[in-house]
């Protein structure tokens, strides 16, 4: 990998992000009584899309918002402009990543399926809540306003077709609730909340959250690693893997995700326990095995929509061997137009021959050929044998290349270290399917007990 390219400036990036920041600061104080600085921020956003088909719509929305008279459609137009800017940032960064990895990009298949838009009423309610948030601003949030998300989320959660919206709103509202009242906030996660707000607002539009699995794939799946994402009441595990299609076509990178809503007290090994029964791939990835797929549904973005009936666990397959032999020839998937955002960048890479360093309280870095890459060890799940210490002592690292707050960072999925002259591999997802490790087994037992208590209570109280 050409790490030098990851630290080179990207043309136009600062300008695009400056317009994003200008808009994001507008949301801090809210749109109820806009001040001149906010009008300037809105104008900066409108100016940045002046040469695009969004131009007139956004210019009008910015004017209305600056006058304190923005309706839902205007706020949606502003969110669209911000999404377009982040999309352009995403594209510039993924082009740079492709130059660094030297890998091919998959062709985007443009097959379209009819839009299925459930839940129009509850989506309208979500939109109204989000618009109220924008008017109040992050400094204006209080418990009453934030709790308005509760009924919306409760109505959405039981419908799996609204899971994306429900999960996002639930996680976002929990953060806002923990930060109330906004008037006394010491610091505001300016970009993050603007991201979540923008995203949530666009997902209330018909067809925005559609991810049809229009195709199927057959072949051998070679897992590279497991990435875990969680907030208080949801978890998703995403397996990154190389697919060798049985028709002899070129290998490609794919993902397979499994997610579940959860009580906030289910954490650590409890997350694996919730997800494990729904996707046999977690067990296979944990054990380091390949999986044979037979007509597994797949989206145009390379997301397998997992069905255990279409998968058979195969022989053992070392992720580092997969990374060394096939990864460099595998094509990277293409991102859905609306999902183009730097926070979504997660590109599997193998790095070797680096010097690991940590200065004082700073983050761990790997220096490769004179170029530094920051390593995000925080992203490793709690129920995992992969520790920050092991990453710091490693000689090879299989990870996800990400980008946040102005720089590329490496999220470790697995490392190789040398213990008594032997190479040992440690995987973030090693306990995904269960474990015999002493610490891991204790965590499993505690998690089983916790869920048993909750299920027992639920059985008594929910069905009364």
């Amino acid at each position: 990998m050409r790490t030098d390219l990851l630290t080179d400036p990207v043309d136009g990036l600062d300008e695009a992000l400056a317009a994003v920041d200008a808009f994001d600061r507008v949301l801090v104080a809210g749109l109820l009584r806009p001040q001149p600085a906010q009008a300037a921020g809105l104008a900066a956003l409108a100016h940045s899309v002046a040469g695009t088909p969004l131009a007139s719509l956004v210019a009008e929305a910015a004017d209305k918002a600056a006058a304190g008279a923005a309706g839902e459609d205007h706020l949606v137009a502003l969110a669209a402009a911000r999404t377009a800017l982040m999309g352009s940032v995403h594209d510039a960064l993924t082009d740079r990543v492709a130059d660094a990895t030297g890998r091919p990009r998959a062709e985007r298949s443009t097959r379209d399926t009819p839009a299925d838009t459930p839940g129009a009423n509850v989506l309208a309610a979500a939109r109204a809540w989000l618009c109220d948030l924008a008017r109040a601003g992050w400094q204006g949030i209080d418990h009453e306003l934030v709790s308005g998300a509760g009924p919306v989320v409760s109505a959405m959660l039981p419908d799996p077709r609204l899971r994306r919206q429900a999960t996002l709103l639930d996680g976002f509202a929990a953060e806002l609730a923990a930060s109330c009242p906004g008037a006394t906030l010491e610091r505001v996660p300016v970009r993050r909340w603007a991201d979540l707000w923008t995203r949530a607002l666009l997902l209330t539009l018909p067809g925005a959250a559609r991810t049809p699995a229009a195709d199927t794939v057959t072949g051998r799946l070679l897992p590279l690693g497991v990435d875990v994402q969680e907030h208080a009441t949801a978890v998703q595990a995403q397996v990154h893997a190389v697919l060798e299609p049985s028709d002899g076509s070129a290998p490609r990178l794919v993902r397979a995700a499994v997610s579940a809503p959860k009580p906030d007290t289910v954490v650590g090994a409890g997350l694996w326990q919730l997800l494990r029964p729904r996707m046999s791939l977690l067990g296979a990835a944990g054990e380091g095995r390949a999986v044979e797929l037979d007509a597994m549904p797949v989206t145009a973005e390379g997301d397998l929509v997992w069905d255990d009936e279409r998968a058979r666990t195969g022989e053992s397959a070392d992720p580092f061997a997969t990374a060394r032999v096939i990864l460099s020839t595998a094509a990277d998937p293409v991102t859905a137009p609306l999902d183009r955002h730097p926070a979504g960048i997660a590109v599997p890479v193998l790095v070797e021959g680096y010097t690991a360093e940590r200065e004082d309280d700073g983050p761990l870095t790997f220096t490769l050929a004179g170029h530094r890459l920051t390593v995000d060890t925080e992203r490793v799940p709690a129920a995992s044998p992969l520790t920050p210490e092991a990453v710091a002592a490693s000689g090879a690292c299989l990870g996800l290349l990400r980008w946040d707050a102005g720089e590329f960072v490496l999220q470790p999925l697995a490392v190789e270290t040398t213990v008594r002259k032997k190479t040992v591999a440690l995987h973030a997802g090693a306990w995904a399917g269960g474990t015999t490790d002493k610490l891991g087994a204790r965590a499993e037992k505690a998690a089983t007990d916790s869920v048993a208590v909750l299920r027992e209570r639920a059985g008594k109280l929910l069905r009364k």
Partner: protein, 167 residues
């Protein structure tokens, strides 16, 4: 803007720390209160809904059928003490102290110091009107376990990375 403000994945709420749930199945810092549900020591079918208000430490404890707790007269009952203990395990003492606006003398607060600071102010007994909403939040919390996992991807979860360090 500082790096944290420019981060899409800035950590705002630390994840809950693991704890045993048998005694206190539900704890939360919400609606300006530390509140939760505490199992009855004697009757498996009964639970107590307990709470302490931030700032005033006004306390309340009653059964889910709104019968007042006999122990919560004049001062914190054992349910409320258990609630504080488990909240400290789940969120860390510092976060609980900050939320309740309870300043403990000396360095690191713990559950015992928190209780003693709060009871030392001779807090008033609050009314039990919050019991019903707290109990319904507990039921909503339990209902999350009944929801089916899905294998359709949730791209928005990229904004919620796992966090190795708990509260």
């Amino acid at each position: 803007m500082p790096v944290w403000e420019r981060s899409s994945t800035a950590r705002v709420v630390p994840p809950a720390r693991p704890r045993k749930l048998a005694k206190v199945p539900f704890v939360e810092l919400a609606d300006g209160r530390l509140q939760g549900v505490v199992s009855s020591g004697s009757d498996i079918g009964r639970v107590y809904v307990s709470s302490i208000a931030a700032g005033t430490y006004a306390f309340a404890c009653s059964t889910n059928n709104n019968r007042p707790c006999g122990g919560a007269r004049g001062t914190f009952c054992n349910h409320i003490r258990a609630l504080v203990g488990e909240a400290v395990l789940q969120y860390g003492a510092e976060r609980v102290a900050r939320y309740l606006k309870a300043e403990t003398p000396g360095g690191e607060p713990d559950a015992e110091a928190l209780v003693s600071v709060m009871t030392g102010t001779r807090p008033a007994q609050g009314d039990t009107s919050a019991a019903a909403p707290v109990f319904s939040r507990f039921l909503r919390h339990l209902a999350y376990l009944e929801l089916e996992p899905t294998t359709a991807p949730l791209p928005e979860m990229q904004w919620f990375p796992a966090t190795r360090t708990a509260a």
